[in-house]
Symmetry: C2
Subunit: 420 residues, 2 copies
């Protein structure tokens, strides 16, 4: 009977259900997105996320040495205020990276003005910038639109905000989940931008997450680190880390019964993974979402290294683009991932098809597998456009998943023809 | 007067002059290259390199966990014989990687037969394979052609050998240098294959070097490790290490006056770097040789990490292909190379043009720089097709150079359309 119940619980889906809405789905959060004339196109280019009093913020950031000053500002202020952040302003079009001493001055001027208008201290306000590297923010334009931005704050303005943070993205990226935990309705919201991490010149992956439960800052920071690992640190489009990458997560509201914390974290992972997959799928020139699942490794760390190496391989990505079940390239990428295993233990699947087992290729029907890949490459966006590659490399308990996309000639044309 | 002499010595070129010939230029070495019917095209596909009695061999090899058995065989036999290797047979078309237990058996059968015919012990004979991963060597075909192969051994057959080791290469890769050291004429020869390290499915970079001076095995091994670092470990086409990468270097002849050893090593570096650059330039779909020079780093190791990261960046490579002086992508790649520096100290040149200085971009003429790049992208093969990117990142003494090529839509088409 116990086994039957276990099986049943595996069959039932997560307690978290997607709902309509975005970053403002959790109680108390407001957002705004307007056009401040920063983008020549006239599209929305200035966003504001406003968190309730008492909200707690943690973040993860680019590891780049040439990171923009706004990243340092976020790190410093979250640390100084122990996460007591109330507002984030986001400008798109100008990365404000590699702009010399102006980077610091401009970021501080904008957040200072915004803090005054919102009657907050500067320490409670963050700024994120995304756009062309080497281009400073037109501070006057931004500052003269801050009143309008604040007046636009609304629970219903989540789509405006999600649009205002985009640069070369083809798709808006947002999601909201809801669950009832201990009789209490809890919501998680998220929005992101990034056409992959492939835009060091139109910099940045930016991601925001909100949640209407209160969580201790240290506990929340630990959760957010784990969430970032399983989502934004598990995607790759071309391995080019940007100067501005930022993920900020807010928790605000009554505390949660500790026994539900693991379920809460599951919801955070779901939300962040959805946003991460949206970014990978929106990689320049991409036609599918590529998923690499690695199991049986001696540790999760090993599994992640392998999954990321395969998802980043230009040869694997071009083979996928050509709907070519080229297992040799996958095995070669596995071999150089820097982890140890016995090739004789390796099994490999593309979609539902087993391709390689115990150190040797199986006699699979290439045409059938290729047709499967071809169908996915023309499938509906984030619905049936997933090509999954699964590897079992031993009997260890380590596992990980990484996401990427195919590498197309379109990617090269976009990046070669883009004129500075 | 001393200064004038120093300047003069800087102006005079290396004591090493390129001469016609290849792997057999040094005294005593013989080579052969024949068609054994391994390639469907009927092109040459079986090569033999024969070293004089007393020759000393060292090598460097792929770090891949999924490496072919022939790599293990080379490592084991060089170790067991302390470098006393006399012959290397090279088959092209079949990588003999991921072929299960056959990999070992087939490699041993061929080298056993060859050793018998050459009246050597098996321990003195190596095998290198290059071709499609997962495909075993047609042992019967190889073994039935070994007599013909041995009969073809000749000092003049260097071009045959250099041709027989190619797979998808567009160009033969060989070079010979000569110098007179202490009144003695010394030659270094080399040949290589590899359309970049971009062929895990048509596996392999293979490189061979010969030299007609005797050098102690330990000393020689140390030199060869340094030579590999400055050449084959400093090129990248798409970062996909192959399962079969092998570099073997032979020294054979009378010992050299120790005071000339550093000049000898200079010649070895020249030879290996020429072969390495030939491989990078012959990368699939490439139109130029991309050279990344990093100076002023705190160590050579740091400089190499930066040079390799930039040379591997898809965004830098596509920008180069589009003759776009996109410094933002170069600086972003610099930032994620995992080394520390101060952005305010960074200077950047593309060709002769200074682009970026002290943390900010200079007001350079984009059109002039773009035209310079465009001319190089259509320049003559390894003559005026070099696009050099130079970075000075501080006041340290560490420096390094890495080579790569542009990333073209042609690269994607070749790798997507290639059918397994």
């Amino acid at each position: 009977m116990k086994n039957a119940l276990l099986n049943l619980s595996l069959l039932t889906s997560s307690v978290w259900s997607p709902i309509s809405g975005g970053i403002t789905a959790p109680d108390g959060f407001l957002a705004a997105g307007i056009s401040a004339g920063l983008k020549p196109s006239g599209k929305k280019d200035l966003a504001l996320l406003y968190a309730p009093d008492g909200a707690c913020c943690s973040g993860t950031f680019t590891q780049s040495v040439t990171r923009a000053y706004c990243v340092d500002l976020c790190i410093d202020r979250i640390k100084a205020s122990e996460g007591k952040i109330r507002a984030v302003v986001i400008n798109s079009g100008h990365a404000n990276a590699c702009t010399g001493s102006r980077g610091k001055i401009d970021s501080e001027m904008i957040t200072h003005k915004l803090a005054q208008l919102l009657r907050l201290s500067s320490e409670e306000v963050l700024i994120c910038s995304t756009g062309v590297i080497g281009e400073a923010i037109p501070v006057e334009k931004v500052n003269s639109h801050l009143d309008q931005l604040i007046n636009s704050l609304d629970k219903e303005a989540y789509l405006d905000a999600a649009n205002a943070i985009l640069t070369t993205d083809l798709q808006v990226k947002q999601i909201a989940y809801q669950a009832v935990l201990g009789g209490r309705r809890i919501s998680i919201g998220g929005m992101a931008k990034g056409s992959g991490m492939i835009h060091p010149s139109m910099a940045t992956m930016l991601s925001y997450l909100t949640c209407d439960v209160g969580v201790d800052h240290v506990l929340w920071s630990d959760m957010i680190k784990r969430v970032a690992e399983s989502s934004f640190n598990s995607i790759t489009v071309d391995g080019d880390t940007s100067t501005n990458d930022t993920f900020l997560a807010f928790a605000s509201g009554a505390e949660l019964d500790p026994r539900y914390l693991s379920i809460l974290e599951e919801g955070l992972h779901l939300t962040a993974q959805h946003l991460a997959k949206s970014i990978a799928r929106d990689g320049e020139g991409a036609n599918c979402l590529l998923e690499i699942k690695v199991e049986g490794a001696s540790s999760d760390l090993d599994a992640r290294a392998i999954a990321r190496t395969i998802a980043s391989s230009s040869l694997v990505k071009t083979a996928v683009h050509g709907s070519d079940p080229n297992w040799g390239r996958i095995i070669a990428a596995l071999g150089r991932a820097g982890t140890s295993f016995n090739l004789n233990d390796v099994k490999l699947w593309i979609g539902p098809y087993e391709i390689f087992s115990n150190g040797t290729p199986l006699d699979f029907d290439r045409q059938i597998v290729s047709n499967f890949m071809k169908a996915r490459l023309t499938g509906k966006y984030l619905i049936d456009d997933l090509i999954s590659i699964r590897l079992r490399i031993g009997i260890g308990t380590g596992s990980a998943t990484a996401w990427g996309c195919d590498l197309s000639d379109q990617y090269v044309r976009i990046n070669a023809d883009y004129t500075t």
